[in-house]
């Protein structure tokens, strides 16, 4: 049964364990960077929503500084950012290559985008809900956790799916600057050694992965909406 696979993807089948490892590395990078950046993004997004001009605790300094930092990082192409971060990555993680070395630049690369996405999800929470919560005597912290984050859950799931899909793309890019994963596999074999089947099998696996992320996201959105 595996004969036709051997026929279609000879180079990949010959390196199946390595291909599988690369896939696992991609999952680890997407998973770890995704989870960590999710928390940072939520924090920054909440800070932006609270300190914006008509927010619950307006603070022009915090808002503008955060806003400018995010815009700055978003304007740097990721491949250049990843290269620029090498010394910092090395200082913090100890190495700038492999899965471990890739996670830090991935977090820095995706967090600004993720923050904007979650910010827009939070901004979508009806201002009337916030007003009602204030009128009930809720404090700011309570409003953040019990109203903003909770009522935005379906939107947060939706934007997280979009972000994860982007993040899968970024993991392929870190392959170029020494990160592991499927991107690295495709570049080393498919691009540098002209093993086209390595490139195609990587594409197929990534397309399936993204399809799966979107499917799970859709199901979660459905469950979270009433």
């Amino acid at each position: 049964m595996l004969n036709w696979l051997d026929h279609l993807f000879p180079n990949v089948m010959a390196r199946l364990p390595e291909f599988f490892d690369s896939f696992v590395q991609t999952l680890i990078m997407v998973g770890v960077a995704g989870i960590i950046s999710f928390f940072f993004a939520c924090g920054f997004a909440v800070a932006l929503i609270l300190t914006q001009p008509h927010g619950l605790t307006p603070n022009a300094v915090v808002f503008n500084v955060l806003d400018k930092i995010i815009n700055t990082f978003r304007s740097i192409p990721f491949i250049i950012l990843a290269a620029a971060l090498v010394p910092i990555t090395r200082a913090i993680v100890g190495t700038a290559i492999g899965t471990q070395g890739a996670i830090f630049p991935l977090i820095i690369g995706i967090t600004p985008f993720f923050t904007r996405q979650i910010q827009s999800a939070l901004a979508g929470v009806d201002a009337g809900f916030i007003e009602a919560a204030e009128a009930m005597g809720m404090g700011t912290v309570e409003i953040v956790f019990r109203i903003y984050l909770r009522e935005a859950i379906p939107s947060i799931i939706r934007v997280s799916v979009i972000t994860l899909v982007s993040l899968v793309g970024l993991t392929a890019i870190v392959g170029i600057v020494g990160g592991g994963g499927l991107g690295d596999f495709a570049i080393r074999y498919g691009y540098q050694r002209y093993m086209l089947d390595a490139t195609y099998s990587t594409i197929i696996v990534l397309v399936l992965l993204i399809g799966l992320i979107e499917l799970v996201g859709r199901l979660l959105v459905e469950v979270s909406q009433h």
Binding site: G128, F129, E131, A133, E134, A135, M136, G137, R150, H226
Partner: protein, 349 residues
């Protein structure tokens, strides 16, 4: 009666593109405990801003707002939160949290979150009170507008507030539902001794549940007083036009203008408008005058409503009888605090 809310010299401006926009200007208002106080105005008149100053959702520039003996503007965040728990608020758009069930919405602001038993029994009690005991586990999207507002009312009452602010709470509802929500508010007022401030642009709402009213235009109060007095003797032009919208007694002028056959008078007839202007218990006046003065009374329009437990409104009638009898009948009515306007005489017989 002790004061629940005292507003004096309240002024608020919003910064706008073309200079400052004055939202409220030297507003004075006194709401006593147990009042159902209506604040009536067109959209943009400043009534929503005014009500938001009462629970500190809006800051104000000058003046004072005193609620239950506390000056709202001078409270710190913690004290303001405590005060807000004593002031329930309901909204035109209900503002129920879609991710939570009806019960979840009601208990959202419950003061004592740790005490689960107390919380659950309070939620049951409140849903019972608003007639939605069977909807505890439904989500807001499964409810009708009237049901949503009932849930919002239950939520507003969760901490036993002494004051309820209602911001256009019935404006998004159909007439029947509006009626049932107003009945509920009145009922809660009577049972719980609530003080209610009702913001509305519908004079009918004021007429139905309020005992006092302030009419606001361009950020200033143009007229205020007891609802009955205001309806009987409106002073400001705006108030008069609002009141006309709730009564059909004004239609007669259109009929006169168009020489309607309905009011074509025969010799010896006279067309009059009678209005109730005092809180006397209504009497069988029409029957009395037709018996005593030998007058045939033909009622063209009738619009009598009960406001603050007194009949309000009047009749447009054609009296037919001897001139002297008609004159005496009119005197008789005037003595009983009926305001009479002669709209049209027939040519003398």
């Amino acid at each position: 009666m002790p004061q629940a809310i005292t507003i004096s010299n309240l002024t608020k401006t919003f910064p706008g593109e073309e200079g400052e926009h004055i939202a409220l200007q030297s507003v004075n208002l006194a709401v006593e405990k147990g009042d159902i106080y209506g604040i009536m105005g067109l959209s943009g008149a400043g009534k929503s801003t005014l009500v938001r100053c009462i629970n500190g959702l809006e800051h104000y520039d000058s003046g004072t707002v005193t609620v239950n003996a506390k000056e709202v503007g001078s409270l710190n965040r913690g004290d303001l939160r405590m005060l807000r728990r004593d002031i329930g608020m309901i909204f035109q758009s209900f503002n129920l949290m879609p991710s939570r069930t009806v019960a979840g919405n009601v208990e959202l602001a419950f003061r004592n979150r740790k005490d689960r038993a107390a919380r659950e029994s309070r939620v049951c009690e409140l849903l019972d009170l608003v007639g939605l005991a069977d909807k505890a586990d439904s989500y807001p999207n499964e409810l009708s507008g009237g049901q949503k507002q009932r849930v919002a009312i239950a939520r507003a009452l969760v901490n036993n507030p002494s004051i309820l602010l209602s911001d256009e709470a019935t404006s998004a509802l159909d007439p029947n539902t509006t009626q049932s929500i107003l009945d509920l508010l009145r009922n809660l007022h009577d049972r719980l001794g609530l003080t209610i401030v009702v913001i509305t642009h519908q004079m009918a709402v004021i007429k139905q549940i309020c005992n006092k009213v302030a009419v606001i235009a361009d950020g200033s109060i143009v007229e205020e007083g007891k609802v009955f007095d205001l309806f009987v003797n409106p002073q400001a032009r705006l108030t008069k036009s609002f009141i006309e919208t709730t009564s059909n007694l004004e239609k007669i002028s259109a009929l006169i203008e168009h020489n309607s056959p309905l009011i074509a008078l025969h010799p010896g007839e006279i067309l009059l408008r009678m209005r109730y202007v005092s809180k006397q218990v209504s009497q069988a006046l029409i029957s009395i005058i037709s018996r005593q003065f030998n007058i045939d009374a033909n009622i063209i329009f009738g619009d009598i409503d009960v406001v603050d437990n007194a009949p309000l409104g009047g009749l447009v009638v054609i009296f037919k009888g001897k001139a002297s009898d008609v004159r005496e009948a009119i005197e008789f009515l005037k003595k009983r605090d009926i305001r009479i306007e002669v709209l049209k005489h027939a040519e003398l017989a």
